[in-house]
Amino acid sequence: MAHSTNDGREANGKTVLLVEDNLHNRRIFAGILKHYGYQVVEATNGVEAIEVLNSTRPDIILMDLSLPVKDGWEATREIKDMPALRDIPIVALTAHAMDGDEEKARAVGCDGYLAKPISPKQLVIEVDRFLKGH
């Protein structure tokens, strides 16, 4: 399932692991990120994400929290438990701007938090900012 494209602007050499079960969201976020020069590796659930991480080391992980099979909470906890992967920043994406979600996400190890709806350009801005700041 994992593949990468870079058919837009100049590649910036950064790889993003996008974990998102919704096809359209995945295509939109991947599309805009690639357009702005990111290499994007996609996964649709927590299990796939961890599989990807066995072979690829991304610069940042965008993790939807509500996922089938293994949700984002669990996947994040596992990733942060692995010493080799612990320092990869994870930004949580959530559709429910529920009170306390941000705190909970940070508690399981998320380094950032973006509440949906997120416009494609906004996502790029946030990811740029995050990678520059870290």
């Binding site: 359209h24 976020f29 599309g31 805009i32 690639k34 357009h35 709806p117 416009s119 350009k121």
Partner: protein, 728 residues
């Protein structure tokens, strides 16, 4: 004295024999008074007698003295004249022979004693003084001169002689031309006889006084006894009464006040006895009555206790009938219960089988029907010899029919088979029992009905609980649906917006200006739809009471700055930028930042929408206890008549405005509701054509909540402190 009527005091006062001091006793006091009176009167009487007797004796003696001295002087004329004692001896002797004459002396006119005779033991001064002689001689015709001596009366009288010629007296005084004093006769008259006589008088006086005294004393004694005796008798009588000898009668027949008193006492005593006897009689009757009543009560109580136990009608009647038959000794008995149709049906019987409680014609007893009709308590009816009851139970000669009533309504009826003449007490008891039974039957019926009702109620409760559970489930599903719809509506919209933006960004190849404008149109309307959905859901959550206020410590300055940054893109085709006027000091408060943010966004989007030129400004300011978040614009403003309406849902000032400016008309309604939830308010000032000023008022510690079930919003404001401490 105040303790005078202690028990001993009364006893003492009532005891006629003892206790009182001697002088306290009336008898002796009276006696004392009477004795004093009789002593006084005897002394007075004796004194008067004595003094009269003394005067009399003295007068007698004086008279005798005068007679004796006159005789002596008269008889001594010759001897004196002759100066010869021989002639004097005879008269002197005669005088001297008198027992009471102590001495006799005859003097010549010169005072020389011519003769003297003195009784032995009498001392007498014979010589006469000249003065005395002259005094005696100077009055030859007068009475004797009297001188008092201790032992005798010394009487001196002149001895006179009749002379024709006046003769000069010895002293040259012409005394009397016819009488001439020629000597002096002197006589000592002993006081002894008078004294003896007076002593005798005194003795008699004393005797008299003593007699008077004795009589007085006796009279006093008699009087005192006469007076005090009835009083003592009264006291004794009162004492007798006190000791319980009621009706004690005094034997005192007198016509005076004491007699009246005694009569009164006797009447009182008799009345007392009568009263006490009638009281005792009454008491005895009462005791008998109490014993009787107690027995009746015990029977009633046992019966009532019996009735209180079972609440099922047939059990109740069965045990009641057993008890009645046992208590009355009736050989047979039966209970009839009134059924729904009104007829009486035999429910339980004792002593005879149910069939026996029918008249010979096979019908239920006519007497029972009469009782049911009249409801007259306790009627007895004789039974004919061929009545089934009599046949089955020969000692039953009659029946007692008693209606069992509750609040004047026939509940049941009782038949007791009886001996020929039941006692009134027995009938009373049965009637009383029947009245208690009426209540019990009504209770049992009510209990049955209540039980039925309770079952029905329980059934309905169960149904209601099921319904409630269903409703709760529906409500939960609805809430879930609302939550889901929010997600399910937004997700595709976000996808639409996302793809559109992606295309617009040229991710899939270049877009020309027409395409770009169309894509922008898609995005704008999709966003409007998203906003509408969000607002409708917010509103429904507020109205369903599901919108929860979540208080947090909020840096309000930062919140305003963030919202302005967020809204800035909306002014890109406006000739102004959003401006903010914020306090220099950090202004923090405790409130719900999401709601405040939503309100500010709504106000700003409205302001920008209706302000083509001019300015839109946000101000954060403190007003006393309140904090004001103000959004002021120079836009088209609001007509005065519309000011009341702008906070209503789905309302813009007019239809054309909606078309012209877009928007849902929900923003202000939601903002107003949020402001209320926050314990504050949202107010507006506006003038048509001259802009509007919306003010969100956040009130510190204001007790106000739209629903009343959320934590009270409060706003703590600190100025000049950024260390995160709050004053509340």
């Amino acid at each position: 004295m105040s303790k005078g009527f202690t028990e001993t005091g009364i006893t003492r006062a009532l005891d006629p024999r003892g206790g009182l001091g001697f002088f306290q006793r009336f008898q002796y006091r009276l006696l004392g008074y009477l004795l004093a009176l009789s002593i006084a009167s005897s002394v007075v009487a004796g004194g008067i007698y004595y003094s009269r007797q003394v005067k009399f004796v003295e007068a007698e003696q004086a008279k005798r003295g005068r007679t004796l001295i006159r005789n002596l002087s008269g008889q001594s004329e010759l001897g004196a004249y002759a100066g010869d004692a021989t002639f004097l001896f005879g008269p002197a002797r005669r005088a001297f022979q008198e027992n009471d004459v102590s001495f006799a002396v005859i003097y010549n006119r010169k005072g020389k004693p011519l003769l003297r005779m003195v009784k032995p033991g009498v001392s007498v001064e014979v010589g006469l003084s000249k003065q005395l002689l002259r005094q005696v001689l100077s009055n030859p015709g007068g009475g004797p001169v009297q001188r008092h001596h201790v032992e005798y009366n010394d009487l001196l009288a002149p001895i006179t002689s009749i002379h024709d010629d006046a003769e000069e007296s010895l002293f040259g005084t012409q005394i009397n031309p016819s009488l001439v004093a020629i000597g002096v006769a002197r006589l000592g008259l002993s006081r002894m006889p008078a004294k003896q006589k007076l002593d005798e008088v005194l003795r008699w006086g004393i005797y008299l006084a003593l007699i008077v005294l004795a009589m007085g004393t006796m009279a006093a004694l008699v009087l005192a006894r006469q007076t005090s005796k009835p009083i003592m008798a009264l006291a004794r009588g009162a004492d007798e009464v006190r000791r319980g000898n009621l009706g004690y009668q005094l034997e005192l027949t007198r016509s005076d006040e004491l007699g009246l008193l005694a009569e009164s006492f006797n009447r009182m005593s008799a009345k007392l006895r009568e009263t006490v006897e009638s009281l005792a009689h009454l008491n005895r009757n009462l005791e008998q009555e109490v014993v009787k009543r107690t027995a009746e009560l015990r029977r009633s109580r046992d019966f009532v206790a019996l009735l209180n136990a079972p609440l099922q009608l047939d059990k109740l009647l069965d045990s009641a009938l057993r008890a009645l038959v046992e208590q009355t000794g009736a050989p047979v008995g039966a209970f009839y219960l009134k059924r729904v149709g009104g007829e009486l049906e035999l429910v339980v019987s004792q002593g005879a089988h149910a069939g026996a409680f029918r008249d010979p014609d096979g019908n239920s007893p006519a007497a029972l029907a009469a009782t049911a009709r009249t409801r007259r308590p306790g009627t007895t009816h004789p039974l004919p010899d061929d009545h089934p009851l009599t046949v089955e139970c020969p000692q039953v000669r009659g029946i007692l029919c008693v209606p069992v009533l509750f609040q004047d309504r026939l509940e049941a009826a009782l038949i007791l088979g009886l001996h020929p003449s039941p006692s009134p007490e027995l009938i009373d008891f049965v009637e009383h029992a029947a009245s208690e039974l009426g209540i019990a039957v009504a209770n049992a019926r009510a209990f049955t009905a209540a039980e039925r009702l309770a079952k029905e109620l329980e059934r309905r409760n169960v149904a209601l609980l099921q319904q409630r559970d269903q409703l709760l489930e529906v409500s939960r599903l609805k809430s879930e649906f609302l939550a889901n719809i929010s997600h399910e509506l937004r997700t595709p919209l976000n996808v639409i917006i996302g793809y559109t933006e992606l295309v617009g960004e040229g991710v899939y190849g270049p877009v020309n200006p027409d395409q770009s404008e169309s894509l922008a149109g898609i995005i704008e309307n999709a966003r409007n739809l998203l906003a509408l959905i969000t607002q409708i859901l917010d509103l429904s959550r507020v109205e369903a009471g599901r919108m929860k206020v979540k208080l947090k410590e909020v840096d309000l300055n930062q919140l305003v700055r963030e919202v302005i940054d967020h809204m800035a893109p909306l002014t890109k085709d406006r000739p102004y930028n959003l401006s903010a006027l914020l306090p220099d000091e950090g202004l923090r408060g405790r409130t719900d930042p999401i709601m405040v943010r939503q309100i500010l966004i709504n106000l700003l989007s409205n302001a920008i929408k209706f302000t083509k030129t001019g300015s839109v400004e946000v101000r954060l300011q403190i007003d006393g206890e309140d904090l004001h978040l103000v959004v002021e614009d120079t836009g088209i403003g609001i007509r005065h008549e519309h000011l009341e309406l702008i906070f209503d849902e789905f309302r813009q000032v007019d239809g054309s405005s909606t078309r012209q400016h877009g928007g849902t008309g929900l923003g202000l309604a939601i903002s107003k509701k949020f402001a209320t939830l926050l314990g504050g308010d949202l107010v507006v000032e506006s003038e048509h054509g001259a802009g509007s000023t919306f003010t969100l008022i956040l009130i510190r510690a204001k007790i106000a909540s739209a629903t009343g079930e959320y934590p009270l919003p409060e706003l703590a404001v600190t100025i000049g402190e950024s260390d995160g401490t709050f004053d509340e």
